[in-house]
């Protein structure tokens, strides 16, 4: 299958790649670029651990072809702590003990970021709804919702 050369903007950095068109963004991030903060699990767009931001919008990287990300801007969890300083959402997750096994957390935080960027003063219900596409099998939803709400309050 013909490979395609591709330039991807990830966390503000431009990457030149040669990929097969069937490769998902998730595979390219984890395998080609070593950005393993984006997790892999169901591959069915059900669980949300592969959530990344595409032009600021939360999407599942497991059902997104890398070739379709040409000329778009991607943010992964690695891109959130600019200059080594934790993003307020990351700080809030730590402060609230919202991280258990941790596997769902990169996706949770990115989905929460996308949501808070458009609604900075959400209700708890709205936060829970915004995170409905992210499953936590430790079932730590309460503390996760509290962390997101607290990050929202702190940003106001």
């Amino acid at each position: 299958m013909a490979r395609t050369t591709l330039s991807l903007s990830i966390n503000g950095e431009c990457h030149e790649l040669s990929v097969e068109p069937s490769r998902t963004l998730l595979e390219v991030l984890r395998t080609d670029l070593g950005l393993t903060g984006t997790k892999e699990n169901c591959l069915d767009a059900e669980c949300g651990v592969c959530t990344v931001l595409l032009d600021g919008v939360a999407v599942n990287a497991c059902v997104l072809l890398a070739v379709r990300c040409r000329e778009r801007s991607i943010v992964t969890i690695e891109g959130l702590a600019a200059g080594g300083e934790l993003h307020p959402l990351q700080r809030a997750f730590i402060d609230h003990g919202a991280v258990q096994c941790g596997y769902c957390i990169p996706g949770m935080i990115l989905a929460a970021k996308a949501y808070l960027d458009e609604d900075p003063s959400p209700s708890e219900d709205a936060v829970r709804e915004a995170l409905a596409g992210n499953l936590c099998r430790c079932t730590g939803y309460q503390k996760i919702a509290e962390a997101v709400l607290s990050a929202a309050r702190a940003a106001r």
Partner: protein, 292 residues
């Protein structure tokens, strides 16, 4: 993704898309949001040799609401949810769109994909059925339009011919004294395939006493989404008392052909239809009164 391979194309116009569609025929497949298609490809349920991505075709993501309402094939569920013009009489479009998947899915999954995928449990399709929607199909030979009601014939099976592109769905503006409602039953509130979903549309006469016209569409109770025609007829010309609505619910349950599966039993699904149909109709009745 499993060892799958395909050639990938990015047409930049409908014309180029349908020319590629004609060239590849059964070996080609149009790619809209991809949230269903890429999963089906990975699972080996579909093996197209050519994927024709539509995201560079201009205009397919447009919603037009002047006169006839037109939803481009690439309109996302998120766009539907946020279209202020649907508030009011077309509320069911918002209600149907906002229960699909989570935000990540709704940001990407499209109306066209939902229709072409022809899942019997599609949520937005019953809403479009209740609105008497038609779909427009474009091929290198020309354009044709079909009632949505005649589009799907079995799970995943549609009237779409190889190489034919669904460009948009459209439906007429609703008459005065009309309302719509959508209800879904699932085991949880999000990321859930419907056990049953129900979309209804009611138009009352000028005095808001009798039903001029009703549409009742059901999801997840037959091999395709479907209209409950007998239930619709049972409402025509009658005042919408609770008893009349309950009767329509029973008629709709009798028209549904649910199966038992891991999600619910057939009798339970029939019961849900008999319950949700009157509830959705009552909501329309309230909405028309409130708007008056």
């Amino acid at each position: 993704m499993r060892r799958v391979s395909f050639d990938y194309h990015e047409p930049t116009s409908v014309r180029e898309a349908v020319e590629l569609g004609a060239r590849f025929g059964r070996d080609g497949r149009f790619l809209a949001g991809g949230t269903d298609l890429l999963v089906q490809i990975r699972r080996g349920q579909l093996g197209p040799r050519h994927l024709l991505s539509l995201h560079r075709v201009p205009g397919l993501d447009a919603i037009e609401i002047d006169g006839t309402i037109r939803l481009g094939a690439l309109v996302t569920h998120r766009q539907l949810e946020r279209t202020l013009g649907f508030r009011g009489a077309l509320e069911a479009l918002i209600e149907g769109a906002q229960v699909v998947g989570g935000h990540q899915i709704r940001n990407v999954a499209t109306v066209g994909g939902n229709v072409v995928n022809a899942s019997p449990a599609a949520d937005v399709v019953p809403v479009l059925l209740a609105l008497d929607a038609a779909v427009t199909l474009q091929s290198s030979e020309g354009e044709r339009s079909l009632p949505l009601d005649a589009f799907a014939s079995a799970p995943g099976v549609t009237a779409c011919r190889p190489g034919e592109l669904l460009t948009h769905a459209s439906f007429p503006r609703l008459p005065a004294q009309s309302a719509t409602a959508f209800l879904k039953a699932g085991r949880r509130r999000a990321m859930e395939i419907s056990l049953v979903c129900v979309a209804v549309r009611v138009t009352l006469d000028a005095s808001r006493e009798r039903c001029l016209e009703a549409r009742i569409a059901l999801g997840a109770v037959a091999p395709t989404t479907l209209r409950a025609h007998a239930a619709e007829r049972s409402l025509q010309g009658r005042p919408l008392s609770d008893e009349v609505l309950a009767e329509a619910g029973r008629a709709a349950a009798a028209e549904s052909q649910p199966i038992s599966d891991v999600r619910a039993s057939a009798p339970y699904r029939a019961l849900l239809v008999a319950t949700l149909v009157p509830r959705a109709l009552a909501r329309c009745r309230e909405r028309i009164q409130e708007a008056a």
